[in-house]
């Protein structure tokens, strides 16, 4: 009985990985947009921009994409969206059902997998296990890219890691890092802008605000998703994802205006 798989050597496998990675990496050393954070807002933004023919690169510090989109509240893997978020689910081909008036529920893993696939199908490129370290600043402190490193480098003791990061250039950078608002906070560290902090007051309607405040906070830098809440000090909200999807769409519109 013959072998099922073709015969390849270890070096062939290594060369295939290295070659494919480097060829792609070279193309995305300069992009139209770098999206920091591969959660639902970042993926949605990337999908929309790539679908419009823009070079979109997502930088994700974890191995997996999707952020909290895999599960809803209390570790239960059903995600909810409020109207009109279900239209995005429809658009992505994610099955859902109506839970009550204006509230829709979908399977978390199915929704997340579909969103990731939609972003990849649109042409988004992804650097996972890659952590955002700093911003590239141009004249008048305009954001012109991101400085990144391998995520595991962060976990190593400083005295044994002299691993310098590398810089990626882009016309626009999107902060889609969730509550951390890592890019905006980095700008704050540099004294360029100031976040308002994450509001603790619980207001169910704050989903609207996340979408409304999605936009440019500094030349070259836009925020979306929960990073918007941290940047502008918006009230807390429940575990529904409509705002993440719509904020991702909104930020893509804002970026397109700037490109």
């Amino acid at each position: 009985m013959g072998k099922i798989f073709a015969e390849v050597s270890e070096k062939d496998v290594t060369l295939a990985i290295v070659g494919a990675f480097v060829r792609e990496f070279e193309k995305f050393v300069e992009s139209d947009v770098i999206i920091v954070g591969g959660g639902p807002a970042g993926l949605m933004a990337g999908k929309e921009l790539a679908a419009k023919g823009k070079k979109a690169l997502i930088v994700e510090r974890n191995n997996y994409l999707g952020g909290g989109f895999w599960i809803g509240g209390y570790l239960m893997n059903k995600i909810t969206v409020r109207h009109p978020g279900e239209k995005v689910l429809e658009e992505l081909g994610i099955p859902f059902e109506q839970a009550s008036e204006g509230l829709f529920v979908a399977d978390g893993p199915h929704a997340c997998a579909k969103l990731i696939a939609a972003a990849c199908d649109a042409g988004v490129k992804i650097l996972n296990m890659t952590v955002f370290e700093d911003v590239v600043l141009r004249e008048n402190n305009r954001v012109g890219g991101a400085v990144v490193n391998w995520t595991p480098v962060e976990a190593l003791p400083r005295q044994i890691t002299c691993v310098d990061p590398i810089a990626l250039e882009a016309t626009m950078v999107v902060d889609a890092t969730g509550h951390d608002a890592s890019v905006v906070r980095k700008m704050e560290e540099r004294g360029v802008l100031k976040t308002k902090g994450f509001g603790g007051m619980w207001v169910e309607r704050s989903e609207d605000l996340v979408v409304e405040y999605t936009g440019e906070v500094h030349p070259g830098l836009v925020v979306c998703g929960m990073a918007t809440a941290t940047t502008f000090g918006l009230p807390r909200m429940g575990p529904t994802f409509g705002a993440m999807l719509l904020s991702g769409k909104r930020v893509a519109e804002e970026v397109l205006k700037k490109l």
Partner: protein, 251 residues
Amino acid sequence: MMLFPCLRPSQEVIREAVRIVTSWTGEVIREQECLYQTTPSATEDLAGLRVINPDNPDLNANPFPVEIAFERRTREDCQCGKGAVYAGVHLAALLGKGLFERGVLWGDRPLFITRDYIATFDRDDLRWHLRYAVFSFPVIISLPGIIEGPARPREYYLLRGQGIPDEMMPDSLKDRYLIANDSRLPRVLAGILLQAFFYYQSGDPFCADPLCSLYNAHWQEELLRSQRDEPYIVCPGHRQALEKEERWLKG
């Protein structure tokens, strides 16, 4: 009284509440346009009145351009009620300036009903608290504040903390707090309008009697208990005050 209501989409609730309070007091409430619309200069300042951190009395100093653009867009398109929380006393001062410029005086007893949240900073526990009303010039009544300002029963928060969504709360519990589009809202709002009426009459909108519509409720159950027609709409003392002015037209 002059009423500057946000009529979208709460027109029916507001008009029913006005009808109720007029039937109690005979007070003519003249409906005007939305106060945000008539105070266009307020839009830029509004961004600075947003409450950012419930534990910090500081407001939103140096708002981003996107925040100011949001306020302008929201007010121009009559889209308030997106969930932002504003400092109630400061908001009243801002809108009051616009009212004075329009020649509206204290004697006109202006009321502003909004779909935005309003909060006041409590010096006792050093926190901002959502309120259903701020009694100032004008009196500001927050429609979502009626639902989310007074706290819900403790059991609600216990269940919520266990991940139970609102839709799955037991019916027996749901009856104990208001929700959006609640059929009890017009009557509750009427009671709050009556508080505004007394504020302009006497300077004091509240009553210590937990069954009087003028009771300053901090819990939803207190609010629902006080905003009923039984055993009385207002306590005997406040009824007497109304009767002295031949105001009490009901019963």
